[in-house]
């Protein structure tokens, strides 16, 4: 049983405006999506009855499930409603999915980030479905005058002990006003009929026919389009500008200065983009310019130092290093990376006296509304945010800088505006994965690893090394130092933040260690894990058994022990976002340039809600990580200006370089953990360990 007090507000009656059944216009279906819109099993209802914030049931039995979290391509718009539908006991083909807007009264954590949507909403979603099911069941039982426990429910139909049947559609009006149960029972995972079965992305029919789903597709009455010119170099300020040529472009309405930025306002996108290029601006550089060369030297210096407050300090590393037979020490450097979401940043803002209307792609609507309220000095209740599907997120849209810009422009020009970034804006405006440098040092004594010291320095993010990750806890002398380097180069979270570099450094280093000790790389790590059972030092985040399981699984599935002429295999393992992953990269070295042919991946992530979507996330994470490992690098010149501004200079992986990715999930009945990010961190290490740096 689970108490319905879990965010109980979302189970209370929906407000009067929508309560008690509502009529919907004909174009309603256009805003929704369903696995197969064309062959909806049930007719369109004339009345909808909201049972709780997550779902409403139509008088024909068709069910609308509201997906609360932002969709960035991680698939929650399909998998979250699957969980509700499972507990509600309806057929998936009778479900229509609707994107929820920001509603902090009804939903918790409407964020797309940290691979946490499913993990943190797992109980809430199941409870929402089970509560509604219970209310429908009790309504039916009362009508028949029998005990609810004597009835059975399947596929949206309730059957009485005598075989009478009532569909959800016939009960919805009454159930909507029924008492909310104090407690509901949740299903045993072995009874699942929807969870664990592959379901296609609910937006596919709309995607493959080019329907307007994305923020950049927003069109509103009276809307103008803005393009923004920002200081080209980090830390630069605007001295003066000449906009006469820009203003001469047909379609340009205005050019306004907003702080150190210049906004070009036009009737449509192209004149705004074109005019922006014609602005002659003079910028002033800061005294100390942060070029890549400067930053990299500073990071390296820092990483070699110790902090007064180590993030972890087990045993005594100094003593162990002094007593060592051999010491291995390496430095690893990770560059800045832009997010390069395929849909460039954009947002719609309409700042009016009566209300502020925002609409567009943002991973953090709740925090963004707070930021906007603060900027404008207005109550949050006056600000609404409509959520769109996003053309990628990867962490970029956790930051509301571009929403703030759109709001500033609308406030200034007193018009509804859609701000659109060019690709060059998108790539050069910062919010990068910060550059980081790691220095790792290990001591070997009598053929055993006796000390491990990892020190990391990172730009602005504050944390470079997670202190409680593998192999922390397995070695008695273990030290972690974290250094921050302040810079005008703005930082962001980028798919699997910190883990994405840290895993690379750690896993490359551990392979070197294994070689030094004359051990097989996988065996070396397994041995560390097995030997630590029952005697882990201090706190650790990861699980020993789950780590062992994924390593053993990948060892088996990758044919690790078999040699193949011309092919080198590289292993890597990482725990992040509550999920354990092991990968083996198969790299062909014999025909010209080395090439990653195949990647074997083993994952322990609890229950896999939607295997079809899960496979996509797992494969996508590997391919994305591989591409950035091979080609990703953003550098800043002597003026602090990014040297890459579009895809001709910043290479992304394409089909020809894409390897096969074979994914194996460890079967589980435990609550689901993250999947949007965890397959990315290990891949660089696996590829590097296969001899392809």
């Amino acid at each position: 049983m689970i108490k319905t007090t879990y965010n109980r507000r979302s189970f209370l009656k929906v407000s009067a405006a929508t309560g008690g059944g509502m009529l919907l216009g004909f174009n309603w279906l256009a805003g929704c999506s369903t696995p197969a819109q064309a062959d909806l099993a049930k007719a369109l209802p004339s009345q909808w009855y909201p049972i709780n914030a997550y779902l409403k049931i139509g008088d024909t039995g068709l069910v609308t499930i509201i997906s609360p979290n932002p969709e960035i391509g991680q698939g929650v718009k399909t998998s979250m409603p699957m969980i509700v539908a499972e507990e509600l006991d309806v057929e998936w083909k009778d479900v229509v999915v609707e994107q929820g807007n920001l509603d902090t009264g009804a939903f918790t954590r409407q964020v797309a980030g940290g691979s946490q949507s499913i993990r943190q909403s797992w109980d809430g979603l199941r409870t929402a479905g089970a509560t509604a099911r219970q209310m429908l069941l009790e309504t039916a039982a009362a009508r028949w005058g029998v005990a609810a426990s004597a009835c059975t429910v399947a596929n949206g139909i309730i059957t009485s002990p005598t075989g009478e049947k009532l569909g959800y559609g016939e009960l919805a009006a009454e159930a909507a006003t029924a008492t909310i149960p104090e407690e509901v029972a949740l299903k045993d995972p072995k009874d699942y009929t929807i969870i664990g079965k592959g379901k296609r992305n609910v937006d596919i029919p709309a995607i493959v026919t080019g329907k307007p789903l994305y923020g950049i597709d927003t069109q509103r009455e009276g809307m103008v389009v803005a393009a923004m010119m920002r200081p080209p170099g980090f830390g630069q300020t605007l001295v003066s500008f000449d906009d006469s040529a820009a203003r001469a472009v047909e379609g340009v309405i205005d050019v306004v200065r907003i702080g150190d930025k210049i906004a070009v306002i036009a009737s449509s996108t192209w004149p705004a983009f074109k005019a922006k290029k014609l602005i002659q601006a003079t910028w002033k550089s800061p005294e100390l310019i942060h070029s890549s060369a400067y930053i990299s030297a500073e990071l390296s210096k820092l990483a070699q130092q110790r902090t007064d407050k180590p993030s972890r300090n087990d045993g005594d590393v100094d003593e162990a290093f002094a007593a060592a037979d051999k010491i291995l020490e390496r430095e690893y450097e990770g560059p800045f990376l832009p997010h390069n979401c395929m849909e460039p940043m954009n947002f719609y803002a309409d700042v009016r006296d009566d209300a502020v209307e925002l609409h567009g792609p943002i991973q953090t609507p709740e925090g963004t509304r707070k930021d906007v309220a603060e900027l404008l000095g207005r109550p949050e209740s006056e600000i609404s945010i409509g959520l769109t599907r996003m053309g990628g997120g990867f962490g970029r849209r956790l930051f509301s800088d571009f929403v703030i810009e759109a709001v500033e422009i609308s406030r200034e020009i007193k018009k509804p505006v859609k701000l659109v970034y060019t690709r060059e804006d998108d790539m050069t405006a910062g919010v990068y994965r910060p550059a980081a440098t790691y220095r790792i040092k290990a001591a070997i004594k009598e053929g055993q690893l006796s000390a491990y010291h990892i020190s990391g320095a990172i730009v602005n993010l504050g944390l470079a090394v997670f202190p409680d990750r593998f192999p922390a806890g397995l070695i008695s002398n273990y030290r972690v130092d974290n250094h921050n380097f302040e810079s005008p180069v703005t930082f962001g979270y980028w798919r699997a933040p910190i883990s994405n570099y840290l895993a690379t450094a750690d896993q490359m280093f551990q392979d070197e260690l294994a070689k030094e000790l004359g051990k097989d790389p996988i065996e070396f790590r397994l041995e560390l894990l097995r030997n630590a059972k029952g005697k882990v030092v201090g706190e650790i985040e990861y699980d020993l058994d789950k780590s062992i399981r994924v390593m053993e699984l990948v060892l088996e599935k990758s044919n690790w022990d078999k040699t193949e002429p011309g092919v080198k295999k590289g292993f890597s393992y990482y725990y992040s976002h509550n999920t354990h992953v092991a990968e083996v990269a198969h790299v062909r070295h014999d025909d010209g340039e080395p090439r990653v042919e195949n990647v074997t991946c083993a994952i322990e992530c609890g229950i896999v809600v939607n295997p079809m979507g899960a496979m996509q996330q797992a494969q996508g994470g590997v391919i994305d990580g591989l591409g950035h490992h091979l080609y990703g690098r953003l550098t800043l010149d002597a003026e602090g200006i990014p040297e890459q501004n579009n895809f001709h200079q910043f290479r992304l992986i394409r089909m020809k370089e894409t390897p096969q990715v074979e994914v194996h999930f460890v079967p589980s009945t435990e609550s689901p953990t993250g999947l949007g990010e965890p397959t990315l961190p290990p891949i660089s290490g696996a590829v590097a360990n296969a001899g392809m740096a």
Partner: protein, 152 residues
């Protein structure tokens, strides 16, 4: 500003824009055909791919003045019911993640199959190599193109 009349998805449409306006922005902003996407603006990513007389072109780098008599087909006009073999294969293979690049991918794939109904694996890879997918859906794109070829 000059006026341009041209054929889009079988209909004659007119737009009054500067001669250098890329076809992409005419489609999106003037004709409200927003299925064609903006990704880079410099013919590097393929998000803006449309057919010009059946050939895949990058609409971000094609000025409207160069369209002339050529027929433009966008993702909205590829089929009436979303049932072009490539669209069907895309649904079947559950290709999209964020979905943003997919209109361009589909237009490139459908132009390839129109010209070469039985492409080899290498030919598929070469044709699709101009379209970037940051989400990394390439494996499913490849499978879907192959399936679409076989279904024809």
């Amino acid at each position: 500003m000059p006026s341009y009349s041209f054929l889009v998805n079988g209909e004659s449409r007119t737009a009054t824009v500067d001669a250098d306006t890329p076809l992409l922005w005419v489609l999106r902003d003037e004709l409200q055909l927003v299925g064609t996407k903006f990704g880079c603006g410099i013919a590097q990513c393929g998000a803006c791919t449309v057919h010009l007389d059946g050939v895949a072109v990058r609409s971000c780098s094609l000025p409207i003045s160069a369209v002339g008599e050529q027929k433009v087909t966008t993702i909205e006009g590829l089929s009436e019911e979303g049932d072009h073999p490539v669209q069907v294969a895309w649904k079947e293979h559950d290709v999209p993640q964020c979905g943003y690049c997919q209109a361009g991918q589909i237009m490139t794939a459908s132009a390839l199959l129109a010209k070469n109904p039985n492409p080899t694996e290498e030919e598929i890879k070469s044709a699709m190599n101009g379209n970037i997918c940051r989400c990394g859906t390439y494996l499913r794109i490849f499978d879907a193109v192959k399936a679409a070829a076989q279904s024809r």
